[in-house]
Subunit: 188 residues, 2 copies
Amino acid sequence: MYKKIRKTDDPRVQRSKRMFKDALISLIEEYPDRSKLTVQNIADRAELNRATFYLHYHDVKDLMQQMIDEMLSELRSLLKPKDEQAKESFSGRTRLITFIDYFYKNASFYNIMLENKAFRRKVFSVILDIVMYWEPRRTTRNPHPLPNEIIASSTLGIISWWLEEGTPYSPNYLANLIIQLFEHGNNH
Amino acid sequence: MYKKIRKTDDPRVQRSKRMFKDALISLIEEYPDRSKLTVQNIADRAELNRATFYLHYHDVKDLMQQMIDEMLSELRSLLKPKDEQAKESFSGRTRLITFIDYFYKNASFYNIMLENKAFRRKVFSVILDIVMYWEPRRTTRNPHPLPNEIIASSTLGIISWWLEEGTPYSPNYLANLIIQLFEHGNNH
DNA sequence: CAATTAATTAACAGGGTGTCAATTTAATAA
DNA sequence: TTATTAAATTGACACCCTGTTAATTAATTG
């Protein structure tokens, strides 16, 4: 009785999906205007048949969506403290730098991905998490705090600009600027 | 001796271009995922021939680019004080509210347009202008001001979020939040 | 090996692109 | 009004991409 239950474990599937993802990244970096983002071109670049693409994805959007979900899940796990002890030293500042570093690694790729609304929304919610647990004491001594969404969206705006400009500051320095803005505004 | 010099003054051209622009706006608002943004559909919606489209634009991107330029030029003129006297009362705050109001009018349309990199870059430079002339005195008494790009990009981030969320605050209140952020950060 | 399933191949109708030449229609100077 | 100019339409063209299918080949694994 032959039965193959774990389809996704098939090395052929693994390989194909990896090839398609790499092809998409390669095409995006080569044509930042996304003018060559077709199933045809992706399959050609992956050196796989176009019909194989349809075995795994519904269309290009679907491929991007799956990649986005994987990336975001990776990012979230980076921001999750491993144990109780790590939680202590895992300050808001550390989390912000971890976050910025993550985008710094494949800056040109994430720069493109951030034009995707779905991706941006999910990144926004990750930032919102960071902001919400930033400094619990903030709410107690602060009579008129800004809505967390204002803090998060301005952070996303700054990071988007930073990526578009080719990361003109180091991740650390950028984090400093963002923290300065939220601590003192522009009146230091 | 017949001679027609001013082609662009031809009422037929005026009408056609207006029809195509209206059709684009109509399609964008009907299909926010931009799935129906083809020359074919735009021409159909405009009730003009597809070949006519190509008489005026190279492709859909070109049409959007022309619209973007027109809108930005309109926005810039709104932000330019009419005379020396008006300059007095045209504070940074007033300019920021004028700016936000402009996007509030066709919020759903600008929300889509802000996904266009070219448009976003130009809006960014308009914000940069507002920020640069915000408060001349700021630089004198402020030893460590943030780069103007940080202020501008965070503003753009906030406004983008606000548009994506369906303008949950009034333009005036949003301006207050932005000003509060830059005046005091999140520690009021 | 034998069974299973992934990948390939070739073909299909459908739709959008960008261009062209010939024709019709609208604007306007005289 | 009429003659001239140019815009708009029409129909056609080759080309490319899409999404699907059926038949075949190739790779994985019990």
